[in-house]
């Protein structure tokens, strides 16, 4: 394009290069975000025209017992799955990082498979594993004399079942991140500690754990967000039941939007979730400021 100035040509080339990412981001992230925020001030059921109602959706949300119930279910789910999946992920990373372990690649692949498995497909398999009469889990528990549990139909256990699936799905991801974190800790730290006579546990406490803190912070934030957004397993396996025991906030949002066609109300829930996640992430960053040590 000889008629264009060099700077214009360069700018145009730059825009062309970033356009695929830019279009995707705008179309699937920023526009829905803005649209949700906008819709949350309207009553809208897709059939009738949108009607502006101010903060009514937010008022209804904060006065709804179902909303608070689903929020508390989500908090319990997050409070268990995040630390447990981080703990197991770290343990597995330490295990597959052992210098003398044979077949590390196979182990890493084995633990990472759940991360890339479709949750919808996995949920069907898990439904079979949790089945109360012929399920694999109850069969395994029977070896230890534990009586058959109605994993998916007993309100006391259904959320536990969802947690098990969530943990299973995420430990591979955590393991890979921790493994990367472990591999950048210089060997000389351990050698310095060896000369001083530190035990493996002391080395873990004094070197590994503090120096993994940037990874731990990242994993915690990612797992918090992922756990807060749990949906597929609940949708496929329990539909929020039994007795609303697995009605996490995302499923509550989904039901309001697509079962009751309360799009404005559902949008208000999504805005609340967005703000909550931002606040929690900022809190995590603030609290970890003194505890995160970058190499």
């Amino acid at each position: 394009m000889p008629f264009m100035r060099r700077r214009t040509r360069e700018a145009l080339a730059g825009w062309i290069f970033i356009s695929p990412a830019l279009v995707t981001q705008v179309l699937f992230i920023y526009f829905p975000l803005g649209w949700s925020f906008f819709v949350s001030f309207f009553r809208w059921n897709l059939i009738r025209p949108m009607r502006y109602i101010g903060f009514d959706n937010y008022t209804s949300m904060f006065t709804s017992s179902d909303f608070w119930h689903s929020l508390s279910v989500t908090f319990v789910y997050v409070a268990v799955t995040v630390p447990v999946s981080i703990f197991i992920g770290l343990l597995l990373a330490l295990l597959v990082n052992l210098p003398w372990l044979k077949g590390k690649g196979a182990f890493r692949t084995f633990f990472y498979v759940p991360v890339i498995t479709s949750m919808a497909a996995a949920a069907v398999i898990w439904a079979w594993i949790f089945e109360s009469n012929v399920g694999l889990l109850n069969y395994f528990l029977s070896w230890f004399g534990i009586k058959s549990i109605n994993w998916l139909s007993d309100p006391n256990y259904a959320l536990v079942a969802m947690m098990i699936i969530g943990i299973w799905k995420r430990i591979g991801y955590n393991m890979v991140l921790f493994l990367a974190g472990l591999q950048v800790i210089p060997r000389t730290y351990y050698e310095a500690a060896d000369i001083d006579g530190a035990t493996p546990f002391k080395k873990f406490l004094s070197i590994t754990w503090p120096l993994l803190s940037p990874t731990t912070l990242f994993v915690t934030v990612m797992q918090f967000i992922a756990s807060f957004r749990v949906f597929v397993s609940v949708s496929v396996m329990t539909r929020g039941g039994p007795a609303q025991s697995t009605q996490v906030i995302t499923f509550y949002l989904y039901e309001n939007a697509f079962a009751y066609l309360k799009f404005g109300y559902a949008a208000a829930i999504s805005v609340f979730m967005f703000v909550l996640m931002i606040i929690f992430t900022l809190i995590q960053f603030r609290f970890s400021k003194k505890r995160v040590h970058y190499l």
Binding site: E191, D194, I195, S206, P210, Y294, L295
Partner: protein, 360 residues
């Protein structure tokens, strides 16, 4: 004798092939001495150090410390400390916590830990910086913390793995004097690894020059510079000129006489080379004196000035000889009148004392 390496060899095996990193090294290090393992990258100096520390096991040979065989003892039972190239300071601990780390592991009383940590911090001149984290310290200060952390354990042997390589030239110079001061003050037997010959020359009691896993020469800094035993050592330590020739006759008065490709004979100092064998005369650049004289003398060569550089305290000449070879010579005590011209004929003189022969 402090530390003794008896014929140690290290072979690394990977993918079915063997790599001999250290090849039958024998070395005796007197108590209280600072010995430097000097050599280019991959010569085996760090592997030797790691075998002394206990991070690597020798394939053959043994390591003895004050008579005790420590070859198979784990690092913490050897009474050895190490200053790492990267300092290995824990980034989440303060200066005093870093220094106290080893003492705390040994479950020493809190008061003793505090007292000894403070003493070491004073010794390395870091008082007032106790509460700082490593990232709040300069490179030189970090180096001092690493030194204090090693010294506080009161080791019998202190190992240094290229401790100054991350510092700038000026800081390196002051830190090596500091390391030497502290080493002499504490009288700890020390093994120092570096590839920097100036560093080695300035702080060592004994230099061990290594190449391809073997010791090429060991001796005081003066010995290895003045009396190199082979071309590698002569070339590795300082700048050097080689004049190729054949050992001609050996005479107690005139020393060895070498006939060179310059169709001249030179009187040289030692008789390491048998008569009739190829020989190299080693002459350091500063051993030459240059003049415009045209008379032939025994240890003189005529040449043409190819180029010269004025370096403040001296002139550095590149002089081309009649056989096409090139000599590097230095001239001190200059006056403006003496500045040469490129293409000018010069005669380079050197004394018998400054001409050392090695096998060719």
């Amino acid at each position: 004798m402090g530390l003794v390496l008896e014929n140690i060899t290290k072979i690394f095996r990977s993918d079915g092939s063997d790599m001999r990193a250290v090849d039958h090294i024998a070395l005796e290090i007197p108590s209280g001495a600072l010995v430097t393992l000097l050599g280019p990258s991959g010569c085996g100096k760090t592997t030797t150090l790691r075998m002394i520390a206990g991070f690597e096991l020798p394939t053959e040979g043994s390591v003895r410390l004050e008579g005790e065989d420590i070859t198979f003892l784990p690092p913490n039972q050897r009474n050895i400390s190490m200053v790492f190239q990267s300092y290995a300071l824990f980034p989440h601990l303060s200066v005093e916590e870093n220094v106290a780390f080893g003492l705390k592991i040994k479950h020493i009383s809190r008061d003793t830990v505090r007292k000894e940590t403070r003493e070491m911090i004073d010794l390395v001149g870091l008082r007032g910086l106790e509460k700082r984290r490593p990232d709040q310290l300069s490179g030189g200060q970090q180096q001092r913390v690493a030194l204090a952390r090693s010294l506080v354990m009161k080791p019998k042997v202190l190992l240094f793995d290229e401790p100054l390589s991350n510092l700038d030239a000026k800081l390196r110079e002051s830190m090596r004097l500091e390391i030497r001061r502290i080493q002499q003050e504490t009288a700890i037997t020390s093994v120092y690894v570096t590839h920097d010959q100036v560093e080695a020359m300035s702080i060592s009691d004994l230099i061990v020059i290594m190449e391809k896993g073997k010791i090429m020469q060991k001796g005081s800094p003066f010995e290895v510079y003045i009396r190199p035993e082979n071309a590698f050592v002569a070339d590795f330590i300082g700048k050097v000129n080689f004049i190729e020739g054949v050992a001609d006759k050996q005479d107690p008065e005139s020393g060895i006489v070498v006939s060179s490709s310059l169709k001249k004979s030179f009187n040289c100092r030692n008789a390491l080379v048998e008569k009739g064998r190829p020989a190299r005369i080693v002459v350091r650049p500063e051993a030459f004196s240059l003049s415009n004289a045209r008379n032939e003398e025994l240890n003189s060569i005529a040449g043409t000035v190819l180029s010269y550089s004025f370096l403040g305290s001296h002139l550095e000449y590149i002089v081309k000889l009649p056989d096409g070879s090139v000599i590097n010579a230095l001239e001190y005590n200059l006056s403006e009148r003496q500045l040469p011209r490129v293409g000018e004929e010069k005669r380079l003189f050197f004394s018998k004392e400054n001409a050392w022969t090695i096998p060719g």
